[in-house]
Symmetry: C2
Subunit: 340 residues, 2 copies
DNA sequence: TGAGGGCTCTGCAACGATGCAGACATAATG
DNA sequence: CATTATGTCTGCATCGTTGCAGAGCCCTCA
């Protein structure tokens, strides 16, 4: 099972271990003749360097970890794809772990026995762990936070401008003439900072349009899955004065809402217009296709990886707060049938 | 940056390195008094074991790699989730890489400079690399193949019975009385074994029902994404005698087909019924919801991880071919409106 | 009293690689 | 011809940990 080591190759080629290493790495000058002889033995034995040993010696692994709440949530899967691609461009590979939104599991990652020491850095999309906790852990490895939460400058942080994104989405609905715009996805408690930012944007759009917000149109959801979007929409439809539009805090909620509207026989967007956030691919093919606020995921991943690698190299000053651009993509769920 | 080592702790506590190691691991007996003293220093310095060093010494890393074509394809994302969960149950973490269906990248994984030596085992969902190539590489680490391809017994292999799955899906459509059942997703070339198995099942269902297959209803697609499903469906609708049902080789193709049908104003399932394969969550919330053949993904992941770990422990005899159960889930795309 | 045994604790070697300093042979130089 | 430079190659130490063998020490029991 265990492959040949430098020692095995050296013995067989009658040279020093060091010379074999030099041939493998092309470091020091080796005469052509000897190089050829060693290379022949390397090929013959099919030598592969033991990366663990190399890592130990060099103090780095070339691996970063990406920690997300749930990998099968399309947004995170698409983001993970971009992170893997961005990391590969720098010669890094990515270990992915999911916390299931479980705060204990997030904390475990930072604890005594975590595997964190095996990675050169950590990209974390936290759900419930707080900045204080992160700081208090005396973490050994560089961390960059993705997307969620506010972290008062303790850690590098890459995200879209959540307030602006929500404002843009809501303004789009108001511009269409909708006057009862609901919001699905608020989280009015400690770990719901991102959701609260979106609620702020939702309110700002109303204020700027000179309109009042009807608080009964704001529905909270503990997480952002399709089912909760559908349930929230059903509750909204049961109101005495149901909404004529809904801003969902992510695309999954929106797709759930669309499902509920369709079942209830409502026409989209004629009766109710729907907007989401994330621009997951699914929204392009749903019926109707989904208007959404699209974060630039590629850019987000690249900036996050770049920042993490800078931090690993020790080139990072004070933790940057990086804002990635977003744009509104209008599709059928607000614009109605679009000719192909 | 570098944390304290056993040596640092030992020096400070005035004991041997070995004793500190014993305290950390609870291996050998250490008197309560000394244990407490060492533990105090461990806490004070916030010691974390260097896992790379530990790995080097022990010859294992506790990491396995999962290689899939595309992580943002929902099936693979959902599968990855299950794999991560199954691996965690055994104390393993999972490194995920994607090949983008690029054969060269798949081969790279097995090549001289791959990081494969860093992992205890490899779960591979190959797209274009062949069994011969895999075998020829003289791989160092245990491999278990997931889902796709036929591999004539060279490697452990976990998958559903693709012929039966396709037969069940097609039979369901025929049972509904459909007589022009199309198939989207055939791949009549070397690396399309899985697709070909599904075509076989599609034909078997017809044969068993005493029906002829109209070959013009079988549409090939080089991959299994939504867009190709939509395009294939458009071609089928343009036929002089369009189909009254379609079996798509995965759910993404089916969702694309549904999208094309909806745009074309066809009613589902009244005009055309649709079945997919994979049971991705998206299909529960699409309009209409999607009838599909559901592989038991949890079981698939567990069996794959179990088999890989057996192989790692050297407990595996001849490479098993493990067949995981599947079942047909009937939803609106074939059954019409289902009361809630 | 002294051999034997258990309990703690320790030092050395090793995992497989790379950094460093230097050895050796040959070539260039004054 | 002696000296320095040059180009190859090697051995030793080291990364941080654990396996192994054994050293003390105290206690027990003949």
């Amino acid at each position: 099972m265990a492959g040949p080591t430098l020692r095995d190759v050296a013995k067989r080629a009658n040279v020093s271990i060091r010379t074999v290493s030099n041939v493998v790495n092309g470091y020091a000058p080796v005469s052509d003749e000897l190089r050829a002889r060693v290379q022949a033995v390397l090929d013959e034995l099919d030598y592969r360097p033991n990366l663990i040993a190399r890592n130990l010696k060099q103090g780095r692994t070339g691996m970063i970890a990406l920690v997300v709440p749930e990998l099968d949530v399309p947004y995170f899967a698409e983001l993970a794809r971009e992170v893997i691609t961005a990391a590969r461009a720098h010669g890094y590979v990515v270990m992915i772990d999911q916390t299931d939104g479980d705060g204990d599991r997030e904390r475990e990652l930072l604890g005594r026995d975590s595997r964190a020491t095996m990675f050169d850095g950590l990209l974390l999309s936290p759900l419930s762990v707080s900045a204080e906790e992160l700081r208090g852990r005396g973490n050994r490895i560089p961390i960059v936070l993705l997307g969620e939460h506010i972290f008062n400058g303790s850690f590098p942080h890459v995200a879209i401008d959540n307030v602006a994104a929500a404002r843009d989405a809501t303004a789009h609905l108001l511009d269409l003439g909708r006057r009862r715009v609901a919001a699905i996805g608020d989280q009015p408690y400690a770990t719901g900072e991102t959701a609260q930012l979106r609620t702020t944007g939702y309110r700002q759009a109303h204020t700027r349009a000179g309109l009042e917000v009807d608080d009964s149109l704001i529905v909270s959801t503990p997480h952002f899955h399709r089912r909760l979007g559908a349930e929230a929409m059903e509750r909204l439809l049961a109101l005495p004065e149901p909404p004529d539009a809904v801003f969902c805090y992510n695309d999954l909620l929106a797709l759930g809402a669309i499902r509920a509207l369709t079942r209830a026989g409502r026409r989209i967007p004629d009766d109710v217009a729907v907007v989401g956030v994330d621009d997951i691919e699914e929204g392009q093919y749903s019926t109707p296709s989904l208007t959404t606020v699209a974060p630039d995921k590629g850019e987000l991943a690249r900036r996050a990886v770049d920042t993490l690698l800078e931090s690993i190299r020790g080139e990072l000053g004070s933790p940057p707060e990086i804002v990635v651009p977003h744009r509104l993509i209008v599709r059928e769920s607000t614009a109605g049938e679009i000719p192909v």
